[in-house]
Assembly symmetry: C2
Homo-oligomer: 347 residues x 2
């Protein structure tokens, strides 16, 4: 008998198929492959992107670093085809009964490595940590702009997950509004807090740590866990163990441990699911309200294993063929011996 | 400058790209093609599906119709691989802080035609009307079962839209819970009603009819319109002009006119977008609360033209490259001369 499960934060029910649970090999898998060809994100092609906003570029022989030249390890540039424009003042207006505003915002690309053949999973943990620091630097800069209410950090890996360029990169969109899923999460977390006087995510961390069946990995600062009511097969969340509302407020040892947790999860997913296309989304408090008792920032990892799409979009109703307990077991037990033991979260 | 627009029902903001608007030919289009091969939904293969629940089968030469035999025009059968099971009593329980229930529900397939080469768009309007009557018959039967709170009617057309069999069919899932998108729509519509003392959908119909720029077609009973803040390029809604909360409460002339409106929209979409894969979802009041002042049933049509997926799922944030005014114009002006003039909605 399949099971209906309710997400404790937003109240979304999903169907979990328990009878004929799909194992990793049951999914038609088109692993992400690097094809090569001309790439504006590679070394030497710095002039093919808009001028860089930020770069980590070690000084060579004491020479001052040259903007928009090779030598960088991470580079942040404006998206060449931005979804929103940075210039202008916010202008909210009615159109009869409807509401609109001009599309002001920022759309930036974080080029995670100069190496075209690398993936975020294959980078050393230290380099992944640098990507996280670049996110933080950009958030701290953009949140000074009071027009922006939310900064969305996300990564599309593989064409099937929406990536238009194969060179490893993440994206950042600063918005003058809150996306609806953020609003729902904030509302749900607030309601739980009013009722229980506890953070719902802190409660989840406690229960999951106690029973362990959905735990994928753990280190000093982070718990990696399959959520109780996942929408997608092998959906996995990384949560900071101590309550913190906003990603950018994390301390430096947290970024080090988040890089390790992220590397471990991505390598395990590559191992178990054969280099799947995936989306990563950072869920964090609105930038102008970064500290509260009820919301707890986290990362959601969603490998793209199934083709169905529009139906779920149209209904908010999800049928997940893999119970999270089984997904967690596959990921937990995946050996990633090529990863230094110190970098792997273990229980 | 792109534009941010807010859906007046659920409050979801979307980005509409107004600068480089994508025209129909700008999308990579893999039109739906019928491949053939063995099909359990074809004439003569009635034994390959679970026993039929309902069929429209004209009596031949005065002989009584034979169940699970050829001669039918529409046939409703249980889904062979149901997402939910029909037997048992609802059993809601806690799992620590989480909530679950056993997966009780109904999952049925409406085989829309015995002709493997036909599509819903190509069927005569009268046959489409029969499909709508079959939906209604099944809803009226299933709503007697008090375990069910919602009945989801939907159609996946084409593999890219999630269809696993190519023979024209729709699906029906009866659920013991309300899908989250339904909850949000009901809440949003109720809030608007409390504030304005009017139905938000009735207000939309009035404004869209007055200014006409997003109207695709119209007949005596239905308005076909591109919504103000669509998530997807060429997303289109069909709304009954007079307030009615539930699909199944429609009168018989409404089914006749809905069939015509639906055929017109599907043919226009096939013409403009080259037989796109698509999802159709009927949005209706919960079956145990079918009549109220604030909710207005309607059909949402979503052609699948873009590949991106997980990001939108993860954030509730949509970037739509085609303004609804342009999509509506393309569809409105598409000539479907092979459709009898009486069947086409015109302004």
């Amino acid at each position: 008998m399949p099971e209906l499960r309710k997400d404790p934060i937003v109240g979304r029910w999903v169907i979990i198929s328990t009878d004929r649970a799909k194992r990793p090999t049951d999914f038609v898998r088109e692993g992400v492959k690097i094809k090569g060809g001309f790439c504006p994100f590679c070394y030497g092609n710095e002039s093919k992107t808009p001028p860089e906003i930020l770069a980590y570029r070690p000084t060579a022989n004491g020479n001052p670093p040259q903007k928009d030249s090779p030598g960088w390890t991470i580079r942040v540039v404006p998206n060449k085809f931005p979804a929103l424009g940075i210039e202008g003042t916010l202008n909210k207006q009615a159109e009869g009964m409807f509401d609109k505003m001009n599309g002001i915002g920022a759309h930036e690309v974080v080029i995670e490595t100069p190496d075209h053949t690398a993936t975020l999973a294959s980078l050393p943990a230290k380099r992944i940590e640098d990507v996280l620091w670049a996110f933080r630097d950009r958030i701290l800069d953009l949140k000074k702009d009071r027009r922006f209410k939310y900064i969305l950090l996300f990564k599309n890996h593989g064409e099937a997950a929406g990536a238009s360029l194969e060179h490893a990169h993440s994206q950042l969109i600063a918005l003058p509004i809150l996306p609806i899923y953020v609003v729902e999460e904030l509302q749900g977390a607030k309601q739980y807090y009013i009722y229980k006087e506890r953070c719902v995510f802190c409660d989840i961390i406690r229960q999951e740590t106690d029973n362990g069946i959905r735990v994928v990995g753990e280190n000093e600062d982070f718990l990696t866990v399959a959520p109780y009511a996942p929408r997608f097969p092998f959906e996995t969340w990384i949560l900071p163990k101590r309550h913190e509302s906003a990603f950018e407020n994390s301390s430096s040892h947290m970024f080090e441990n988040l890089a390790k947790a992220l590397k471990s999860l991505l390598m395990k997913a590559d191992r178990v699911l054969d280099n799947p296309p995936y989306n990563l989304v950072v869920h964090s408090s609105p930038v102008q309200d970064p500290t509260n008792e009820y919301y707890h920032w986290h990362i959601e990892f969603m490998p793209k294993l199934t083709k169905t799409a529009g139906f779920e979009w149209g209904t908010g109703f999800y049928i997940n063929p893999t119970p999270p307990e089984e997904a967690a077991k596959f990921l937990r037990e995946a050996s990633i011996e090529d990863l230094a033991p110190s970098a792997v979260g273990t229980r």
